[in-house]
Amino acid sequence: MVTKEGEKVVSRRKTQILAIDAGGTMTDTFLIDDQGEFVVGKAQTTPGDESVGLLHSAADALTFWDMTVEDAFPQLLTGVYSGTAMLNRLVSRKGRKVGLIVNKGMEDHHRMGRAIQSYLGYSYSDRLHLNTHRYDPPLVPREWTRGVTERIDLFGNVVIPLYEHEVAPAVRELVDMGVEAIVISLLHSYKNPVHERRVRDIAQQTLKELGADLPVFASVDYYPVRKESHRTNTTIIEAYAADPSRRTLELVDERIKERGARFDIRVMASHGGTISIKANELARTLVSGPIGGVVGGKYLGEALGIKNIVCSDIGGTSFDIALINQGDFTIDTSPDMARLVLSLPLVAMDSVGAGTGSFVRVDPYTKSIVLGPDSAGYRVGVCYREGGIETITVSDCHVVLGLINPDNFLGGQIKLDRERAYQAVKEQLADPLGLSVEAAAYGVIELLESQLRNYLESLVMGKGYSPAQFACFSYGGGGPLHTAGYVKGLGFEDVLVPAWAAGFSAFGCGAADFEYRYDKTLDINVAYGASDAERRTAGSTLQEAWNELTEKVHEEFEKNGFRRSDVQLRLYYRMQYQGQLNDLEIESPLTSVTSAAEWDQLTATFEDTYGRVYARAARSPELGYTVTGAIVRGSVDVPKPKIPEEPYAGETPPQSAFHGQREVYWDGKFIKADIWEMEALKAGNRIRAFAIIESPATTFVVPPGFEAVLDTHRIFHLRQTSGE
């Protein structure tokens, strides 16, 4: 923060939120103060005890504010951790030695996996190119898998009773082989858990007799949901990678408390909330990074009264989009991570491998420019000599065009070499295409932006909406550079670029609710014109599931000392017309369902939602209804980051914010761009094209045909001034 006189204010700064992103090589720390301003610190990740790297990283961040960890931590209201240690453990197959018990005859199902797992995470061209497909080694090898005889069919009927005498020998064999945990996953156990629970109890009994202290994970206790591969994978991850990571999290929690922190650290979870490190289902903290931005978008939307939002995030490697509709994001119930299909609720996002670090190449056969899908990531591009990159990236084109200030990248922490970028773009791109270096680099930016624009448009229109109904939030380190390019002509209701765009994901993590979400698969079928008794039974089946899940939510919060009365519960159900393939997740208008009339309220709410999502004319009550799942979300109040609030200071930006002009190549000619310092602009300031608004972590471009106005919350609104 800079005062009118330009001197730094250090003592009055109030650190509010700590967000930690512990990556495989570097740990990033974001500290947010009560003005929404943040500092970023970096330090090497210290595997084994991540808290060491974390404290170094926090200390590094705080040097920008002339503070120490001991000054800052006691002021903090809350802290959220997200890390990739668990993911790395999984991807590098360095998890616990897990034994698996499945149905006899099904011992190979985990090893074989689903065909899609052989190409998950691949580019479109590689998906079509069979030679690239590969099955990763299974988390549990065949040797450590045992079968027991039993069968429950998909309706939950016992078809073959459990052969109880087979369980103990299976457990003993696994123990003899030295497994460190046992996972049980039987067919259709989500529908009827008796056999799986019985196997679990016998296994625990056998372990006790053997004097072996091994944890046992029954899928039904964790993820009682349909789809065998997904449920088995997820339960195995719980035993293989998640549970062993708990100690890491406890250490982090202990260390920050030793430095004066007065809160329990929470972990970002896939469903868009944060959970305690004591949570039963820890595997859902596997994913973290990109969803932070969506959570932040939802939070900011609530604060500003915007209900429909397109969140768009450009980082170094990808462009991620998520829709917030009527104030809520969509949940994908069977996502994939680390090339495994899973049954975790994940905030639905669409990603395309195009970011500022994406490699730029010329297809040797068609002579066309190809972007990505791979990228230089944190190594920026050829312009960053120390990065050791030889193939040009989108960032190199930015440098060539003059859009990025090579001396002020990441606040000058990294010096970029314009001449190096220029030569590389000339050799690799301009000369082969017979273009001038600037024209070639501009072509890359245009191509990228038109790809992003098409992608954004198809995503919004493909879901049946029009961009005019949405506000577009643009953030991420590379977002504001391209915002104008990718929203041009789409007609969004508003385009918002927060001044803290680069730290928006961390802001989002800090803004996440302390929330548990539990899902359970159901198959409640109610025909059109069903009797009162049938509808009443359907309602009570759903209610039983809600009760069961509510109990799980309460148990989790009790671990952190919250009372039942502190917990706000929200009940959801997934419903579809009988025979249709897609269900909708709907918040229940009622807190309990016991009568036929109350059931009718649920179907009426479904009809409304269906009409809104698809079309009113497509509603088909004559098909009858199916409830496919029950969901309970419970949250407690936690401090959230404050959205900055500043007095209106008029349209004319202060002269102190003006940093002169720089020559920029744009659309066939060199023009003078006004350079503004983002931090020095005041609420109400109107910035006209051509302008480049710089801050240490991001660059915001206002090209011809656009203007940007900073509001009182330090959010820029980008407006199109001329039609195109």
């Binding site: 580019s123 590689d126 190119h129 030679n131 690239t132 590969r134 190449r361 040797p364 791979d374 690799q428």
Partner: protein, 168 residues
């Protein structure tokens, strides 16, 4: 554009390459120097001096003789025929067309019915290396796998004329 060193291409030829390296190669545009490096390695590995114009299959090459003829040649030096002809007609052929012969290859009950499908194995008459196997209906003519347009390949893809024989 990617460029791989000779050791990597040798691993590729031998099938010992690490999968992730292979995946990276498969997903990238082909490196411009690949063909020449590949040929160089093959040429070093054979004991004879004829110049290899094109790899033809496992153990087989199209080579250039001093009189300009293009001949299909085995690792061991056995020469089959000219490049436009079907070398299989000059190979030793073992036909599996009875149940017992087919069952030597397959687990119980999984062998094809020889009335519908037979297996023909082609061997080099000099070194007895198995060079090719085809699974066809019994009446099917011997398949001519590959008739390369060597001039077209050199001139239009590599952008240079086919090398001419030189006295050593």
């Amino acid at each position: 554009m990617a460029n791989y060193d000779k050791a990597t291409i040798e691993e590729l030829i031998d099938g010992t390459i690490d999968f992730f390296k292979l995946k990276e190669m498969l997903s990238s545009f082909k490196d411009p120097g690949r063909f020449d490096t590949y040929l160089e390695i093959l040429q070093e590995r054979v004991k004879w001096d004829d110049r290899i114009l094109l790899p033809y299959g496992l153990h087989l090459y199209v080579v250039q003789k001093m009189d300009g003829k293009r001949v299909i040649k085995c690792d061991c030096g056995h020469e089959f025929c000219e490049a436009h002809e079907n070398w299989k007609l000059n190979a030793l052929i073992y036909v599996r067309d009875t149940d017992s012969q087919l069952q030597e290859l397959y687990p119980a009950l999984l062998a094809p019915d020889p009335q519908w499908q037979i297996i023909r194995e082609y061997y080099c008459p000099t070194c007895a290396t198995q060079l090719e196997v085809e699974a066809v209906t019994p009446w099917y003519p011997i398949i001519h796998d590959f008739e390369p347009d060597i001039d077209g390949f050199y001139e239009e893809w590599l952008g240079r004329p086919v090398p001419q024989p030189v006295e050593k």
